[in-house]
């Protein structure tokens, strides 16, 4: 399945809890903001938003990383565009 993962850099404070839980998906840039990786890779360069293909375990871990963010700066959407986190 595919997920769209988006970080709002205006909300992100660089707490890095997402990096601790899912380092293959989140890393910090030089502005101390989380950027989105695709399985530890950055195809097409550094970005705050990316579609990635994941399995069930990876999806659960990415959701856990998003839930751990103290400023709820990470948004996760499924293929139909439904926002999985934060729950609306």
């Amino acid at each position: 399945m595919k997920l769209r993962i988006k970080v709002d850099p205006d909300l992100c404070i660089g707490a890095a809890s997402c990096v601790t839980i899912s380092p293959e998906t989140f890393q910090l840039n030089d502005e101390n903001k989380a950027v989105v990786f695709d399985h530890s890779q950055e195809p097409n360069g550094r970005t705050y938003e990316r579609w990635i293909e994941v399995n069930d375990d990876e999806k659960e871990n990415i959701l856990l990383a998003a839930q751990s963010c103290p400023t709820l700066a990470i948004f996760i959407f499924d293929e139909e565009g439904k926002q999985l986190f934060p729950e609306i």
Partner: protein, 395 residues
């Protein structure tokens, strides 16, 4: 499917035979994370979550965003009220624990109720050190009520109002940023000569002083705190916890509640996590008390795993970051000068950034980064892998 090992089977058997009653004192991020993890690991157990606050869990870190109107008030909440019943968690808001009887395994609450436990987690966090009680223009930034009160002060201020910040730590940084956001002239009073005097070398502390002065903040060092008319006072002089009810039960308390690497206290079946926990850090080899979000969330999870019998060592290089009027400040790992035997500096004021490294018996154990974000991951990895301070100093 992999074959179950013997200890897995024993654990599963224990889970199915007994209905465990887990009691968590403290509904902040550490206690709530523990409750969530316990429910994942043990679907049939009883879980009681005792919370001093009346609100569902919210993010304290989001309070400045709410005050600045970056987000609406309802966005600070991390869970809805219904979440607790959906998870079959007995949520008890507005209640404190006042007595622990470890022999008969029950806790007495402020409403007079006594609740028995099989496993108990203490995750009560800290309260801000109070100065000038009952003064309406004095603000603390610990709770959602504090944020609401601060906004009231901001919205009712007159044109000549000044912001007075007392303290030299992360909360003081938040107040400085908030007063700047509302274009309120700011004065900062600190007891020492610079921020974080227990961690920073003089040169590093003076870097911050110079930065504040460049940004137009009036800085008073070696100062006493006093309230002046027509000011909004923001207090950030640290947190403290009431351990009296735990000490009288025989719990070992030092700076925080003393725990081993499994977050077990000296009393059987009593665990601790979050800001109150003084845990044995397997990376740096001594006890640490760390009050940050990352630490609280991971400890909540690890404590829950240990409470269910899944022995898990707490091992984390935690960090905390803030931006003080454009200056990036990051604390990583063990950053107390008194527990390190070596400190080294990389960079300089002239370079625009300094990294202060902390070493213990040659091992890199912590770092403070000012405007040197790009060092963060490298240093975190070096600390985690028990590398020498020499290795970082040479990069």
């Amino acid at each position: 499917m992999r074959l179950l090992r013997r200890h897995d089977m024993a654990w599963l058997l224990a889970m199915t035979i007994f209905t465990m009653h887990y009691v968590i004192i403290g509904g902040g991020i550490s206690g709530t994370t523990a409750a969530e993890e316990l429910r994942k690991l043990d679907s049939s157990s009883e879980i009681t979550l005792v919370c001093e606050e009346l609100h569902p869990i919210y993010s304290r870190v989001l309070l400045p965003h709410y005050i600045k109107s970056k987000i609406p008030r309802e966005r600070v909440f991390l869970k809805k009220e219904i979440w607790y019943s959906e998870q079959n968690i007995d949520w008890m808001p507005g209640v404190l624990a006042v007595h622990l009887d470890p022999k008969n395994k029950f806790v007495t609450l402020s409403n007079g109720r006594e609740i028995e436990y099989d496993k108990l987690l203490i995750a009560t966090g800290g309260e801000p050190r109070l100065l000038f009680e009952n003064q309406n223009n004095v603000s603390y930034l610990r709770s959602l009520s504090d944020a609401d009160h601060f906004l009231e002060l901001i919205n009712s201020r007159d044109a000549n109002c000044r912001g007075d910040v007392f303290g030299g730590g992360f909360i003081a940084c938040e107040y400085i940023n908030l007063f700047s956001h509302f274009n309120i002239p700011t004065r900062v009073s600190i007891r020492g000569e610079y921020f974080w005097s227990r961690s920073l070398e003089r040169k590093v502390g003076e870097f911050i002083n110079q930065h504040l002065e460049k940004k137009g903040v009036e800085l008073k060092t070696k100062s006493f705190f006093s309230i002046e008319p027509n000011s909004i006072v923001g207090v950030g002089t640290g947190i403290e916890s009431d351990f009296s009810w735990l000490k009288s039960a025989g719990l070992e308390v030092n700076t925080g509640i003393v725990a081993n690497e499994f977050l077990e206290t000296n009393i059987l079946d009593v665990y601790t996590a979050g800001d109150v926990c003084e845990f044995y850090d397997v990376i740096v080899g001594h006890h640490l008390n760390v009050g940050n979000w990352m630490n609280a969330i991971v400890q909540g999870r690890v404590a829950a795993q240990n409470m269910t019998g899944k022995k898990t060592v707490f091992e984390l290089v935690s960090s905390y970051a803030t931006n003080l009027l454009g200056l990036e400040i990051i604390f990583i790992g063990d950053v107390l000068k008194e527990s390190s035997d070596e400190v080294r500096l990389i960079g300089s004021v002239e370079d625009g950034g300094i990294t202060q490294l902390f070493g213990r018996k040659g091992q890199l154990v912590g770092a403070v980064l000012l405007n040197r974000n790009s060092n963060r991951q490298l240093i975190t990895d070096l600390i985690k892998n028990r590398q020498t301070i020499d290795k970082m100093a040479k990069t």
